[in-house]
């Protein structure tokens, strides 16, 4: 793989709902390279989750193309395969199956991969240990705190050693202590496993811990900022503008010229 090749590339992506009445995303252009850590920030309704859904194939763009390793992906089955093997997703609402224990929820991501039941159980157990929940393996989601549930969801998302982890407001339903712990966990996992991480958040201090941040406004990329500090250092949310990371569309270039 060439050093500068993209892991995932979004080109001219639009997403509209209700027959065009609602525009969630407008002409989004974005490149994420392997092992990068990016934060998508913006106010509620700015299109952050819509973008994550499209980047994970959980939703299809109304227009535009998404490339995985420079290959366009549009079939649902191809996206499913990617989510099963290369892309891990963490949701704000955790999205654990309520009737399954923590270990079984993690195991769920390993089913259908030609792994024996014993190996699946062993692997689920080691993943839960990695997220600090080995003593909660046999608990149902309702018996876990919000932070614990999110850690189970993180363990599930990394079960298949993904190249890309998409975290959609993973701290949105957590208190600040749990939020810090979950972000720390995600950053550590990303560093240890060498996966790329895209973190959707409206919390600027969390976003500042990523390599760069993409700011969305009204469904369009407003700015892209590269952070100066490493992920281990706490720093102010501000950063310098990162050039040429996204590929502004002609319309966007025209808007910029007007300004």
């Amino acid at each position: 793989m060439a050093e500068h090749s993209s892991l995932i590339r979004v080109e001219h992506v639009d997403r509209v709902y209700d027959d065009g009445a609602v525009t969630a995303l407008r002409d989004i252009n974005l490149i994420i390279r392997p092992n990068e850590c990016a934060a998508i920030v913006g106010k509620s309704g700015s299109g952050k989750s819509s973008l994550i859904h499209i980047m994970s194939g959980c939703d299809a763009p109304t227009a535009g193309t998404v490339y995985w390793h420079d290959e366009s992906i549009w079939r649902q089955e191809d996206w499913r395969r990617l989510r099963a093997t290369r892309i891990g997703i963490v949701f704000q609402e955790f999205h654990l199956l309520p009737a399954l224990t923590a270990a079984e929820n993690v195991e769920l991501a390993l089913m259908g991969h030609c792994i024996s039941a014993a190996d699946r159980a062993r692997r689920a157990s080691s993943l839960l240990e990695r997220v600090g929940l080995s003593d909660r393996a046999r608990h149902l989601p309702t018996e876990l705190s919000g932070g614990e549930r999110q850690r189970v969801a993180i363990a599930r998302s990394i079960a298949n050693d993904p190249e890309l982890i998409l975290a959609d407001e993973p701290t949105g339903n957590l208190d600040s202590a749990n939020a810090d712990a979950v972000v720390e966990l995600l950053l550590n996992i990303r560093r240890d496993r060498g996966a790329a991480l895209i973190l959707v958040t409206h919390d600027e201090s969390l976003a500042a811990r990523c390599d760069w941040r993409i700011r969305l406004k009204d469904g369009a990329i407003e700015t892209e900022q590269e952070e100066e500090a490493t992920e281990k250092e706490e720093k102010a949310p501000a950063g310098k503008l990162r050039p040429a990371r996204g590929t502004p569309s002609p319309a966007r270039r025209a808007r910029k010229r007007k300004k």
Binding site: D59, L82, E104
Partner: protein
């Protein structure tokens, strides 16, 4: 964990939901099974009644539209009794008649010295001595409906009869009947020397070929129809109409039961759209996702059908306790129906789960998750 254990755990850990859905399926299965059994009860009732009366062959007037309208002469009794292979013959005059003025009951006039009366089980009272007249033996159900006991008086066709005993038959047909001496009924109904049917008990050890020969010989006497007793209503026009109605009811019951099972599963799976969305979001293949849901549906179908069979059994036994109706009819689901019921229920539940599972599995995961 595999797909089957996943389905079982999903059901086990949602006790209330699993119970409610299984019960809904069970009630649908029970309704269909009970109505089908009820529709079969006419023929089964006749068969049970015939078994209790120990007759092997029944002779009726050929081409009569129903058993009450085809009269044959009583003289045939002696003629048939002399045929080889015949152990005993009893002529019956059977008709619906007003009992105690306004209650239409099935009244059977039979010879008190005939083999049917001799083997009649009595619950109360005693069989009057030979030559006694104008007495009645009430089936236990008829006695209950008429509120009459031994020693009471009743009227049949406006003529007084003395209740001598209560018969303890088990079949609904015999329990609901009123038995009187043949001559008395012929007298009050102005049907002297007339009977509606002949009951024949065959000599033991008779071979099928000999029975066929006997049937041919009897049929040769005149326009007579000779049938095994448990089938003697097969040619009855009214019974044929009732059978058609009951078959239609069965079909409707089956369709309603199937629709009920389908809609129950449809709703049960539809409310899990978001869970199916989670499976899609973590990369489960469509077939695998649908497989796990369909297996759950099939397990619910199996539980529901077992519940349904149990419920229909309970209903059938409590049905006989119902006043008036229970004395006239009875039904019991037959064991031969259990396996088809189980298989049909499993199949319907699997189909019921398949459509919403397919719909949810083909949906964009983002859309499915929005239903969380």
């Amino acid at each position: 964990m595999n797909l089957v254990t996943l389905a079982v755990r999903n059901l086990q850990r949602r006790t209330m939901r699993t119970s409610a859905v299984s019960l809904s399926v069970g009630l649908a299965v029970a309704s269909a099974l009970s109505l089908i059994s009820l529709s079969d009860s006419i023929e089964n009732g006749v068969r049970e009644g015939a078994d209790e009366r120990n007759a092997d062959l029944t002779v009726l007037k050929r081409n009569a539209s129903d058993i009450f309208s085809g009269f044959i002469t009583e003289d045939l009794v002696g003629r048939i009794a002399g045929m080889p292979g015949v152990a005993a013959v009893a002529g019956d005059l059977i008709m619906f008649a007003p009992v105690d003025q306004d209650q239409q009951k099935l009244v059977a006039g039979g010879p008190p010295d005939g083999f049917i009366w001799k083997s009649m089980p009595l619950l109360a009272g005693t069989m009057p001595a030979a030559g006694a007249t104008r007495y009645a033996i009430l089936g236990s159900g008829a006695a209950e409906v008429l509120h009459k006991g031994v020693g009471d008086e009743i009227t049949i066709l406006d003529e007084p009869f003395h209740v001598a005993a209560i018969a303890n038959y088990q079949s609904a047909l015999n329990r609901s009947m009123v038995f009187v001496p043949l001559e008395d009924l012929q007298d009050v109904a102005f049907r002297q020397k007339q009977i509606t049917m002949l009951n024949i008990r065959l000599a033991p050890g008779l071979k099928p070929k000999q029975i066929e020969t006997l049937k041919t010989s009897i049929a040769a006497i005149g326009p007579l129809l000779v049938t095994p007793t448990d089938q003697f209503l097969r040619n009855d026009r009214y019974v044929a109409v009732m059978r058609s109605i009951s078959r239609t009811v069965s079909l409707i019951a089956l369709i309603m039961g199937a629709l009920s099972v389908l809609s129950t599963l449809l709703m049960a799976v539809q409310e899990r759209t978001s869970e199916i969305g989670i499976m899609s979001a973590i990369g489960w293949a469509r077939a695998r996702t649908m497989g796990s849901i369909v297996i759950e549906g099939a397990v619910i179908g199996a539980i529901g059908s077992v519940l349904g069979i149990g419920i229909s059994y309970g209903v059938s036994y409590s049905f006989t306790g119902l006043p008036i109706i229970g004395e006239m009819m009875s039904f019991h689901p037959v064991p031969e129906m259990f396996l088809p019921t189980l298989l049909v229920s499993i199949l319907l539940c699997a189909i019921g789960a398949l459509y919403p599972a397919w719909r949810a599995a083909t949906m964009n995961p983002a859309e499915a998750l929005r239903r969380f």
